[in-house]
């Protein structure tokens, strides 16, 4: 059964676990019972984990913000401010389970898409100019797919971890 993150939640791994600063992303209790070994991640608000590659991603977003309307030759919009915050929040809140930096691209409507592909699994996190975020996850071998709002993705941490593993 899925549960929402809360700032008072304690993790099994203890204080070294780090975690989200809000309750946007869901966590599945199934992850805790998985046979796969997942990195500690969790709820200690006071122990922020900043991925070492986060500054590079921020620089990439700044670079993308310089693209003007029509940049893709098909009339795409330049980056819209509302699309940035969900991406930063994801990378900061769940940075402890993300093993490699995302590939960051602009979408046609001025949103952002972060992509990870480990070969075995791929995940796309798309944020729209209105701040909505969606997930597309696919396991290449089985063809298993999931697509929907990020807030409804109870497996997000596990999928991020799998898709961002370094091959």
């Amino acid at each position: 059964m899925a549960e929402r993150w809360t700032s008072t939640e304690t993790s099994v791994a203890g204080r070294e676990r780090t975690g989200p600063h809000n309750v946007q992303f869901r966590r599945s209790s199934a992850v805790a019972t998985s046979h796969e070994v997942l990195p500690a991640s969790g709820s200690a608000r006071d122990v922020a984990f900043v991925p070492p590659w986060l500054p590079d991603v921020a620089r990439r977003i700044i670079e993308l913000s310089r693209r003007r309307d029509g940049w893709d030759s098909y009339g795409a919009r330049g980056l819209q401010e509302g699309a940035v915050e969900p991406v930063i929040r994801l990378l900061v809140d769940l940075g402890s389970v993300i093993q490699s930096p995302p590939s960051v691209s602009l979408t046609v409507d001025g949103g952002l898409v972060c992509e990870w592909n480990s070969g075995g699994a791929s995940l796309e996190f798309t944020s729209s100019p209105t701040g909505e975020s969606r997930i597309y996850y696919c396991e290449e071998l089985s063809g298993r797919e999931w697509e929907g709002p990020a807030a409804e993705s109870v497996w997000l941490e596990k999928w991020l971890w799998k898709a961002s593993s370094v091959v």
């Binding site: 990439r60 670079e63 993308l64 693209r67 940049w71 893709d72 030759s73 098909y74 009339g75 919009r77 590939s103 960051v104 691209s105 602009l106 979408t107 046609v108 409507d109 898409v113 992509e115 791929s122 796309e124 798309t126 969606r134 597309y136 696919c138 290449e140 063809g143 298993r144 797919e145 697509e147």
Partner: protein, 160 residues
Amino acid sequence: MTEAAAAFEDDAERIPDSAILYRRVDWDKIGGRDKYPPGATGTLNGNCFTDYPEWRALEMGLPGPCMSVGVAPILTGHGHGPEKMLEDWEGYGLAWIRAGDLRMLERADKSPCPQGIMLFPTADEPWHGVVFDHAERPRKGAVCKAIARVAGWEIALVNE
């Protein structure tokens, strides 16, 4: 001036399954040039094959969200090769997709997600066409990814 299209209609007669379709790709659709080591070729992803937002499609006189392409047989009929698609777009790459692959498109889980294709010529690009999803518009991420799986580079983006 482009004539507005009242509805999407798959045009298998003028765009047979064997027809190749072209779509321009910019580095910023695939993570940026710096993501790739020197000499490496960019990787096509689902973001290369998304629909116009609805407002933009309607502005263009299209019935709804869809994706622009160049239709190779029409382009050839005008005496041009694929490089014509990049004439005013230096630094862009060109992806190809076979029309039949779009009509018989399947998601990763093998469920069908057939696409339709019709001509939508413009003054600048008489070979211009659009690809539309029969079921859901704008096309969802899983379907964009399915297109990326059957697409290839005609003129690749290489980090030189």
